[in-house]
């Protein structure tokens, strides 16, 4: 099918294979705005692409041309779209296509079109490629554990194809490597709330609270576990406020650490010791001076003591 070798970057006009095609230049009009000073190779490739695209030629050479265009311009969604149109009738080997995407991803791991194309291929291959996909995403995350596209793809794979069994362990591993990785905390929340194997948030809460409190005590300066803790009580804030174990954890470092107030955040309708909250806002005005006017505003919004 498609050659795994690139055609060496030889100008298309010099290749015999393309002799019958008249390249279609871009019609920029008489007064283009913000024109780009295209390099020759780019301009030529896109001129040939336009010709093939307009003629709607879905052939092996068209496939090779899209590969070339993608190398030069991986953000061009029209080229990716046409490649999909060409792949179907050619009955191409989609496993090879995954390899192709992977090679492009090596230097373009943050490109929406590439990931969308990958999704398209995986949809057609189904659960057979689930393990391979999850493994690939792991390897991309090992280079950048916060790659938003990779996480988005991972969540899609889990929801579309499954594979939840080891996901909590994976989050655990990432957090051991970097407890400050907010993407890993977010994924943990995703797994805990959505995995069909874990029983949901309420069932998991007790063990998650233990884990999170440990993380807080190890690094009270880390915003992530504080927010995660509050997230565990998303629709049940009263339980959080009434939990003495948590309160004592929160209050222990509050003299020194600015993030303490996060866990004490509550809605206006619940009773709260105004003196304590007032005192904490007062402290924060000084230790978190960047947000001083915010803490003053928060203090003024506290319910007045009876």
């Amino acid at each position: 099918m498609e050659s795994s070798e690139d055609d060496g970057g030889e100008p298309l006009s010099r290749l015999a294979e393309w002799r019958d095609v008249t390249p279609l230049p871009q019609d920029d009009g008489p007064n283009p705005v913000a024109p780009i000073a295209y390099k020759e190779e780019f301009r030529e490739t896109m001129d040939y692409f336009r010709a093939i695209y307009k003629a709607d030629e879905r052939s092996p050479r068209a496939l090779r041309l899209t590969r070339r265009a993608i190398h030069l311009n991986p953000g061009n969604y029209t080229v990716w779209h046409f490649r999909r149109l060409v792949l179907e009738p050619l009955n191409s080997d989609l496993d090879e296509e995954l390899d192709f995407i992977q090679r492009i991803a090596n230097s373009n791991s943050k490109n929406y079109q590439l990931w969308h194309h990958r999704r398209w291929v995986v949809e057609r291959l189904g659960t057979n490629v689930r393990a391979k996909e999850l493994h690939l995403i792991k390897s991309i995350l090992s280079l950048d554990a916060k790659n938003y596209h990779a996480w988005s793809h991972r969540q899609w794979v889990l929801q579309a194809l499954g594979g939840w069994e080891d996901e909590l362990d994976y989050c655990q591993q990432l957090l051991e490597e970097d407890i400050f990785n907010n993407s890993a905390w977010n994924q943990r929340y995703f797994v805990v709330t959505r995995s069909p194997f874990l029983g949901g948030l309420t069932a998991m809460r007790a063990s998650e609270v233990r884990y999170t409190v440990e993380a807080i005590l190890a690094n009270p300066n880390n915003e992530c576990p504080w927010r995660y803790l509050r997230g565990l009580y998303k629709d049940d804030i009263e339980s959080l406020v009434n939990n003495h174990e948590i309160s004592s954890v929160c209050l222990k470092p509050c003299q020194e650490f600015r993030d303490a107030v996060v866990a004490l955040w509550t809605s206006d309708s619940l009773p709260l010791d105004p003196d304590l909250a007032t005192a904490i806002c007062g402290i924060l005005e000084h230790v978190d001076s960047m947000r001083a006017s915010y803490w003053i505003w928060r203090k003024n919004k506290l319910p007045v003591a009876a």
């Binding site: 913000a34 780009i36 390099k39 307009k54 311009n73 061009n76 029209t78 969540q155 907010n182 509050r230």
Partner: protein
């Protein structure tokens, strides 16, 4: 290196993309200027408006977006005189996809604006347009450019845009940017909302479904991810909050109004936003990540919309942004790197939010100048006494007595009536109306 869309945020940028001069090793750090170097920025953007270096060829598919940055950027810098408005209008309009008939506008394709000439061909002998389809983000940019140069939006064929845009909305309320298939996320919900807002017509989308999708994107920590379940992110949060505001689901300046019921968890959102200002004064896009110029806009604009911008440490932010200001003009993502178009644009919007003198004020919800964002409103008026002359001249000021839209002359003897006028979305309350040199009774909208 510039990213693809205005909404590609931080997650679309590669550090070592092909063609980019290696940023970190170029020049030794010199002491940054302590002021916003407007003249240099104007020169930089004027250069890009006239010609983009080849490094931007990988952005080819988003030509309209690149043009939007340069034109709107010059407008922010009060240098729109560098732009040939008529030329811009005809160029932008040439990107519009047109159905051949009313029926065709319902055939599933999106008749918005193309982003570049890659996918746009002249129709063949039979008048058939091959692969004729627009893109939501390009359409947003096209309309934004037209508004910026003062084009009369009432002359745009908005029907085919709006009717066909509905095809792009998914059952869960999100939007696909092109009809042939692509990722769906909050960026395109925002584009759709902004398009409807600029065209002053909401028939292009189901607002309630879009609202529901947005609400599903609010994370446990108060910010919004780009899709439900994803990590909260400065760009996603902007798209969510700005969309809700444009669609009318949240009021302006929520915090001052003590709104206890709101469809989003405002207090948690506010706290999340406030925590995004890092120790170096800049804003980060996600917890525990580096500060990046553009989030001074994405997160700053959210705070502005909510009424919480006053809480940030402006001095610290300004100091950080100036370390990202380039001696060549423009801004870079991180301190002491080479500038790119995207971060430069959002650096200017950030300085506009900081009310830097010499910059035009910003419309936070649309990411462009307040002046460009003007929309029509009806103004009802009544004079104290019947005017004896045949012409009535209305001079309209906003609350701070800034002249809004000059004079509007009505050539009839009227003491009571209505007139349609352009207003800035933020200045819908008028304080003074002068009629024929005499003060009148006030007017409501």
């Amino acid at each position: 290196m510039a990213t693809r869309d205005p909404l590609d945020f931080d997650i679309g940028v590669e550090d070592d993309e092909d063609g980019t001069p290696s940023p970190s090793s170029i020049s030794p750090p010199s002491s940054p200027p302590s002021y916003f170097d407007r003249d240099r920025h104007v020169a930089f953007f004027e250069m890009l408006y006239n010609l983009m270096p080849y490094h931007y060829q990988s952005q080819e598919i988003n030509r309209l977006t690149l043009a939007f940055f340069t034109i709107s950027g010059l407008h922010l810098l009060k240098a729109l005189d560098r732009v040939d408005k008529d030329r811009v209008v005809s160029w932008v309009l040439s990107f519009q996809a047109h159905p051949r008939s009313q029926a065709e506008s319902k055939n599933g394709q999106f008749y918005g604006f193309h982003g570049s000439r890659t996918s746009q061909f002249p129709p063949d002998e039979n008048g058939v347009s091959v692969h004729d389809a627009g893109h939501l983000a390009s359409t947003y940019c096209a309309l934004a450019i037209l508004k910026t140069v003062g084009f009369n939006m009432l002359t745009i064929d908005k029907e085919s845009i709006l009717i066909s845009m509905r095809n792009l909305q998914q059952p869960d309320g999100s939007f696909m940017p092109v009809h042939v298939g692509a990722e769906t996320d909050l960026r395109f919900v925002y584009c759709a909302a902004a398009i409807c807002f600029m065209l002053e017509d909401w028939s292009g989308m189901d607002r309630e479904k879009a609202r529901d999708y947005i609400l599903n994107c609010q994370s446990y920590d108060g910010g919004f991810g780009l899709m439900p379940g994803l990590e909260s992110h400065g760009g996603g949060t902007y798209c969510a909050v700005a969309s809700l505001r444009l669609m009318g689901y949240i009021e302006d300046d929520l915090l001052s109004k003590n709104a206890t019921s709101s469809i989003i968890n405002v207090s948690l959102l506010l706290d999340w936003c406030m925590q995004r200002q890092a120790i170096d004064g800049g804003f980060q896009g996600r917890a525990n990540k580096s500060s990046d110029t553009c989030y001074a806009f994405w997160v700053g604009a959210v705070l502005r919309i909510l009424g919480g911008y006053k809480f940030i440490d402006k001095i610290a932010l300004r100091r950080f942004l100036l370390t990202c200001q380039s001696e060549y003009g423009g801004f870079s993502k991180y301190p002491s790197e080479l500038p790119d178009l995207y971060h430069s644009y959002y650096g200017y919007t950030a300085f506009s939010l900081l009310e830097e003198p010499g910059l035009n004020p910003l419309c936070a919800e649309l990411g462009m100048t307040d002046l460009a964002a003007l929309v029509h409103c009806f103004l009802f008026f009544q004079t104290d006494q019947k005017c004896c002359i045949t012409a009535l001249t209305l001079t309209i000021f906003d609350l701070s007595t800034r002249l809004l839209c000059g004079e509007k002359t009505l050539h009839r003897n009227r003491s009571l009536g209505a007139v349609k006028i352009l207003f800035s979305p933020h200045n819908l309350a008028i304080s003074v109306l002068r009629v024929c040199g005499r003060c009148t009774t006030l007017i409501m909208l």
